[in-house]
Symmetry: C2
Subunit: 496 residues, 2 copies
């Protein structure tokens, strides 16, 4: 007889394989010798095949079917794991195997041709592969569709349970209008803060010393993590006791690594503080991107751009880099720290304009899947929106539509999570400030009340509770973008 | 019908699993966060179980039996792989499963109690576990025994094909006498070189800069390797394009890391230069310890202690650490570099006395397995031999019998490989000097003729050819310890 024990055994194997794949992925992006890529590709393909077998093979299928027919052995976690394992199974299990394999191959080619297109600075090199990916997805959507209203809703729902075009349209409209109004106000103010000192030389050692100390004050633990260098920073968690962060360095732009480390440490904090009861079943309870990002952005923006934090932290930074900023007082520092400016590149955007980059991608993805826009028209569409929302002329594909790898990896419906992360973070913060005095907490030097609130209301649940429920339970209401708008308005209110 | 293809598929899976285990092992000893050990133990246990299944499971058994019955599909590599896979299979396949599992459990406990015994500085804490390991091995030896003459021969043969007590007794007698004679000569010379400057501060950055440049001049490639910090230095090769070395640092003893890095880079050189035709079957063709060690020791001793090398390298080192050694001329440097002194700890021994540490362990192991000496008598035996061979009083178990982890890991018959490594290295060097002028090569700055010789005569074969055959093919004669004695005599000839 099949019991919860069989399900958990199978999911534990999946969890261990996921952990191995995470170690390999981290290593490949931090220190793997350059020539070893071809051997690593074989190893990763083997792991992917094993993971596929475990999560969609006949043994898993039988376990799911048996337990769906007789769930008497399941406790509440068992029910959840069954439901999540079924969802994963259906994601690939509903697709004919040869289509799935062909799709994977297309993704791998597309990423290669995305890189070549970037080298050639020419979208057309990559366009045929993007077309094939989209065409596969349009073929798969009906196989995935349950009660979602539009094709794009199916994709949104995969990354963020319950998210719909209807909801997002309303949320993003409100955000777009709010940003536009605020940017208008700011542009009327013609004094530009002097931020030349932000490019003064701060050594990697100094940057690391300050940023890692700050990350640890916010609760990131080095006995459960580490910091490595990489090209595109990320956090990789093998498990809750091994959540590694990475960064890149620019000795003439210390802001990048400081905010980057706070950001990745926010992801790490989440992983380090998931309840241990989910250890074995972690692989079917991945943390949704939106809420994960809400925690990295909480660190980076809600804390890392706030005046009360820097009022306390700036002297610590000054001391570590002394005498580099001895002539810059706090007001000068903070004005420069907050400086906002529209950019062409999403990953370089400031907290105010960032959501506009996401909204542009969202609108294009919606046009692709719901309005069947022609794929050859995407660059023009992209450039038009950058002009309209950010006031920027896109000079070429490289700084335009070719900047993100996501679509080449088949990730459509994923971008909105980044914006949701910002909105969730602000809503959490608004609730926290009802009971926590951030200014007093930072001044006390003991940041643990903030840590404890986040652990209790967000982190402990890992991926076991859907993000919209975590948000509602923690804040008492569903997603409300007004909190974010209030936050950025507050941030830039006294901006000179 | 079972063909070579099936065998190679199965061995390739084993190779990939071995590679994953190597990555995990490297990570655990270099950068894994401290708290992550319990998760890593689960992951490693999973990998060990998979490896065990692949290499000793029923599928492998059938492949071996089918191909032994009909080998018509095998080419010459196929024959070799079949033979090696069979040997691996029999190592565990001949042991009843419950005994094998109990033995593994004992090993894991023994390592724990070895560590506790070290903390307590008391052999007795560990003795019962050592007894159980030895008793298991005595039970397994008859199951492994083919035509080996004595029980200990069975163990020796597992690490070094064809090695016997008879051969080793003769070799080690010659070595022991040779060292004793030379040490006598040296002790008559009462001037002790001044080596205080070896403890002058050399920063980690300087040490790394010099040692890695030297390792690369000897051919170690960083696009197929990397250097990390660790506690007990090692080389870990995932594959020939990913052979990672590690070191530890002491800013007041730069000799340790310089020689250590040369040593580990020697292991790395071997792995980086194995012929690509063995890539997929690497897991059943591991490189024997003795010949592996011959290459690390070639770097460390044959090169790294030689006058002709340092005559060229010392100015490079001086330049990197300037002005630290500006007042030390080459003769002063080299006299100190070669200083010999008996030590209690094997891993701190100089090249002259090192083999005596091994000979002591060899004689004790032989006494255990061939003469059934009482395990409670081992410390007394140990201490007696250190007094007799090295003239040292062993003050306690920690600096005596508890210094090595090997026996707690079940490795008996392994220590002689370390000594063989020294002897092989010297014999290779003696042959090389017939056609290569080391002095001229080092002076030219292009060390590649040495690299090419080692690649052609040693490295390319990986573990496909037995070490004694590699040695004989390369040097024209079987193991002859006189080359090593000649080398150390030459080294210390003009020693003041």
């Amino acid at each position: 007889m099949t019991t919860q024990h069989d399900l958990f055994d199978s999911v534990k194997e999946q969890t261990i394989l996921t952990q191995i794949a995470a170690l390999s992925g981290w290593d490949a992006l931090t220190g793997m010798p350059k020539d070893a890529g071809h051997f690593r590709a074989e190893m990763d393909a083997y792991l992917a095949e094993k993971l596929f077998q475990v999560s969609t093979g006949s043994a898993r299928k039988k376990i799911l079917e048996d337990l769906e027919a007789d769930d008497s052995s399941l406790d509440s976690l068992g029910h959840l794991v069954l439901q999540k394992a079924r969802k994963d199974f259906d994601m690939t299990g509903n697709i004919p195997e040869q289509d799935f394999i062909a799709f994977q191959k297309t993704l791998s080619e597309a990423q290669d041709f995305w890189a070549r297109a970037r080298e050639a600075n020419d979208y057309k090199v990559y366009q045929p592969y993007l077309e094939r990916i989209i065409s596969y997805l349009k073929q798969f959507i009906p196989l995935w569709q349950k009660n979602e209203k539009t094709p794009y809703d199916v994709l949104l729902n995969q990354y963020e349970p319950g998210l719909t075009v209807e909801k997002l349209d309303a949320v993003f409209d409100q955000v777009k209008n709010g940003i536009t109004t605020l940017r208008h106000k700011l542009s009327a103010n013609d004094s530009i803060p002097n931020d030349e000192f932000l490019s003064r030389k701060v050594t990697k050692v100094q940057q690391s010393k300050y940023a890692m100390a700050a990350a640890q004050r916010l609760g990131y633990k080095l006995n459960k993590g580490r910091l490595d260098d990489t090209i595109h920073p990320f956090m990789e968690a093998l498990n809750r006791d091994d959540a590694r962060i990475t960064t890149r360095w620019d000795e003439n732009n210390f802001q990048m690594a400081v905010l980057g480390i706070l950001h990745e440490a926010g992801h790490g904090l989440f992983e380090q503080n998931v309840d241990s009861k989910y250890d074995d079943v972690r692989s079917v309870l991945p943390i949704s991107m939106s809420i994960h990002e809400s925690q990295s952005l909480f660190n980076e923006v809600m804390v890392g751009r706030s005046k009360e934090f820097w009022a306390v932290e700036y002297p610590k930074l000054q001391a570590i880099v002394a005498p580099t900023f001895d002539d810059i007082n706090f007001d000068q520092f903070y004005q420069a720290w907050l400086k906002t400016e529209a950019t062409l590149i999403r990953t370089e955007a400031d907290p105010l304009t960032y959501p506009l980059h996401i909204i542009i991608r969202y609108e294009i993805e919606k046009a692709i899947f719901n309005d069947n826009v022609d794929i050859s028209d995407l660059p023009a569409l992209w450039n038009k929106k950058y002009k309209e929302y950010l006031g920027l002329e896109v000079p070429d594909d490289l700084t335009g539509i070719l900047q993100d790898i996501h679509w080449a990896g088949g990730s459509f419906g994923y971008f909105p999570s980044y914006a949701l992360g910002h909105l969730y973070a602000a809503q959490f913060r608004a609730t926290m400030t009802k009971t926590l005095d951030f200014k007093a907490i930072f001044e006390s030097g003991d940041y643990s009340p903030i840590f404890e609130w986040r652990k209790e209301h967000v982190w402990q649940y890992g991926g076991a509770v859907d993000p919209n429920k975590v948000l509602e339970d923690a804040t008492g209401e569903p997603l409300n973008p007004q909190y974010w708008l209030d936050f950025v308005n507050g941030l830039y209110e006294n901006f000179k």
